[in-house]
Symmetry: D2
Subunit: 340 residues, 4 copies
């Protein structure tokens, strides 16, 4: 199998390439870029030594054709035009937001402009979703925050343990904001400082979380979501809490999470008393998860750590692509992090 | 006025000294320490150049007597014995937890052992508290997390805008965990990583938050509190959310916070659209605050940044001491942070 | 005395303002900016709470006139045009490079373009320089790296202890690279990484170091200078080494440094066995210094820590301005750092 | 092939295990520890999800016997006793210092106590060394700093381009100092700060650098070495400079380095104009290298980046073990880093 990567000079593109370099079933084909086209990959991804001399082509359908699969890591709004030109014999995996939301109204409210459509959602752990992905030729990779929050809360909703009123505060490393230089993302600004942004229901990942959890709840789930920028390059730590339904016990909670995670290769429910740190999952496709019942406050609290670029983007994309290509789901995806 | 500092070799002690070095109304007297007694301050606080040669005495009542005020920055459980030996003509300001909680049952549940008592609570911004502090000879400095959460939420409760069911996720720098070396606080472990700890209603600062907010709410307030360790030395960013009461509007919310903060020298409600970062308050006694109404989720969200060592400990201690000593409340306390 | 600050929205400008806010002899006047003119200071320096609403004017001579002193914190090449329009009754302190070098050939080689001229060099600790600054109406503030290297090595050269062949490797925080957003300065790039740049005698601060040290050596001093970018916002740690002259002893070395630093308010020779860390000087106008004689290698090694924005730029600027204004040299300048 | 790891709960042990998890030719056998024996690996290395439940045995010869190879990652001084009990049919690879130095006098001067002996030195890139390692049953893994400095300078000495008077300043991440909790290694102390230590010819890695370079120079090489602690968990950036011999040109220098590196799988001479950053090599067994001739100062400057735990310890250990086991040298060793 041969894969092209559109957007190879950005952070998502770089992580796709890092993972594909040790993927035994996928060969790296054409690399394309926007304004960086014409240079070599080594100028932008100097950590990818084996690919340093690879040229960056322009992101055009012609340059992407002739591959078994194409990963799109493009700015929002650019995927549809490229994907249209690629036939159904090509698996197209979009790391952008364009095809994530099913509800055109939510799209228009949060992103603006016309809704491009909806592709199968690349989160194999969602109940029922793995089968859909096996048959997919188009895949919408989830957002990094929705990946973390959905993985943290789906067992509670699937087991009917919590009310549909979720509060999430999630700290993210700066790579989630991408590689375009902005003053507030300078090292001088972010080192030694934690800051909030997109507060009060305005972050674009909010409707995606609700879309994932509502079907499991059997009723509309509302998420109050606050993203926080933390002084690290990678990682998301999401704290997710919802009121426990009457009569829910610690034992029932743990049982539900054990059941939901025991056959999932990338979900790791930590031993009781251990809480997630993003360093546990740095560079890994694993999510580290822990839950507790706060009896005083009557709430279930789930904390999850992922690497926003791996499980949250590129690793998740490859995991879904493996399924769609008929490969073992775990192929080429690291289970262990890089620490300390 | 002359102040002794007990626990001068720790982080709270060091911050007290840093602030007192530029306080025009308080002179630095005896410095004491536990196991570091016998060495000079410069061996532990090399940033405090002007005090480098000051000797560290043992923490005994004899060494602390003869000062107008004594700051205690001791491990929990050691303050009562020292304070008893200091007469009422000495102002004693305790940066530890021993005298913060009014409810002996809460003390026993969260700290264990016998409750030492309750001293006037050193948070001048709490309605009615400033007057109490003016007459105090003993002051219990609030915990760093409770300082942040109380300052973020008291205006909403005082104005009757939110339900008494608060969810807090607060990211803290590592200095909040103190200076005793533990494996999980090594730089190698904390750099590049965010982690959760004390999740599910077990953190000792939880009852203190509830104690502060319940009287304003006129009913028991429950706080679901999750502390998070962030890769920075200083700072707390607390995200606090509670359901909005029916009919609450954005305008009413902003008005309540403007009213509550406009005469407070250290509370800074940011202009609309700007959100707090801990770097805004590094080394300052200021709290930077912003609020919004999430109409989709029906919740008020308040985000606050403080420096855990300044406004959250040593600066707050001096602010209350200023009041008790009849000095201007703002004397010697920096309003601006050190950035970038 | 009233000071205008040109370039108030950058890092040097912000640090000047932070220091001037607690300077008892200088009042803050007009603030100007380039592309940020028209906005308020709070949009760019949110840590400077007391100045949040101050408007940023355009950087024109008209807006800067009518002040006792003007600090210029402008991109290289812009200072001369502004300074020409300000009369000699105004003290002009230039934090840029334009007037630092005496040798037009060195200027042309390292900066290119025409040499603007030479102003009195704002490093009071250089032997003889303090008197020159007392009479100055124009001051060229040294570069941050030359400040560190000159302060580390001048005692050795003044005492004739080393050969004129210096090797310097200096690690700097990212604020030294300024606030203009560049991809390589993004937090995602700099966190968790140390990198070299400007290697091999090409960094513009190299001739300035040689200009400072050569007169003390009585012969041309050559500096091999390698700057290194470290994952922190502030601080320079410079390791400076030169061959010891024959017969030099540890004792003679220490004596020379004690003599050179004992009356200097901002030079702090650490006790033997203690080595500098940049955290000792964060936000302070102090330089922390230590030296040793490596007898195996026959070299003197001097290590110095400064805050690049304080002693390395804004604090050094104010120190020299104090002298030129007839104020006490130390007025308004912090001796202690902010740590941890 | 089956490998035991002694010292599995430390940083070197953890990195050995991370790499062995994806090594196709070596299976992970017994894990042993000192004071952590009796617990499971997951309590100490939570990032190594697949090994979380593995028990930690006591570090005894009995527990290490019966493996094809044994990696020792023990505190200095403990390797000899263990190795003696393992027969010559077992390959023993010591990540500690005990068997690195050939000169007993150097050992006694820098480490104290009796010299344990000398084992084949595990740096395959040293001219002639690869063949020696193919026949070795005992291997002394180089120190992390000597690995970086030797790789940076051996081509210059081998080609006779520099004088034997080297100055090195190397910044290291904190993991190089190990996992034992010490106050100066706390996150609060190291974040936001660069500091020097072991200055003036006293660092234990100094004689090892000289031992490696002197034979290539054909005369005794002296190294002035200053280690610097940087605020990051991993990585070494070493700046190495020596006087150029008369007549050396830029072209000759580059040619020598191209020749010395072109067949080395893990040495990567960067394209001209690009300088190393430690992030290029994070988690990789690669060294990123660049050189220049500073004609003004008459010096060759070489800058190198490695990951101290990978190429600097565990990766280097596995590379040498591969050779001794008759496996391909590069087997199981990542060529690309994890970035950003």
């Amino acid at each position: 199998m041969k894969a092209a990567i559109a957007g190879a000079s950005g952070y998502a593109g770089g992580e796709l390439l890092r993972l594909l370099l040790s993927h035994p079933g996928i060969e790296i084909g054409a690399l394309t870029a926007g304004s960086n086209a014409g240079s070599v990959l080594g100028a932008h991804q100097p950590h990818l030594a084996p690919l340093a001399d690879r040229p960056l082509l322009a992101t055009t359908p012609d340059n992407l054709r002739g591959h078994d699969l194409v990963f799109l890591a493009l700015p929002h709004g650019q995927s549809a035009a490229v994907a249209e030109e690629l036939g159904d014999d090509t698996l197209v995996v979009d790391c952008g937001a364009d095809f994530r939301l099913a509800d055109p109204a939510a799209w228009e409210h949060f992103y603006g402009g016309a809704h491009a459509g909806t592709w199968p959602y690349g989160l194999p752990e969602l109940p029922g979703q793995r089968e859909r992905l096996r048959a997919a030729r188009r895949i919408a990779v989830p957002g990094c925050y929705p990946t973390s929050v959905t993985l943290a809360m789906f067992p509670a909703f699937a087991a009917g343990l919590v009310e549909p009123d979720v509060v999430v505060v999630a700290a993210s490393g700066t790579s989630g904001a991408g590689r375009a230089p902005k003053p507030n993302l300078l090292g001088s600004e972010v080192m030694g400082s934690v800051s909030a942004y997109g507060v009060g229901g305005v972050h674009r990942h909010t409707p995606e979380m609700e879309q994932n959890l509502s079907p499991l709840a059997g009723e509309p789930v509302t998420v109050s979501f606050t993203p926080v920028l933390a002084p690290m390059s990678r990682g998301i730590l999401a704290t997710c809490t919802a009121p426990a339904k009457p009569g829910v016990t610690s034992g029932a909670l743990r049982e539900a999470y054990e059941l939901a995670t025991k056959d999932e290769p990338f979900l790791r429910l930590l031993p009781e008393g251990h809480w997630p740190a993003t360093s546990m999952t740095l560079g890994a496709n694993t999510a580290a998860l822990q839950i507790t019942l706060d009896e005083r406050a009557g709430r279930v609290v789930a904390v999850i750590a992922i690497d926003n670029l791996t499980k949250g983007t590129a690793g998740g994309a490859i995991q879904s692509a493996n399924l769609a290509l008929g490969l073992p789901e775990e192929l080429g995806l690291p289970l262990n992090g890089v620490a300390p």
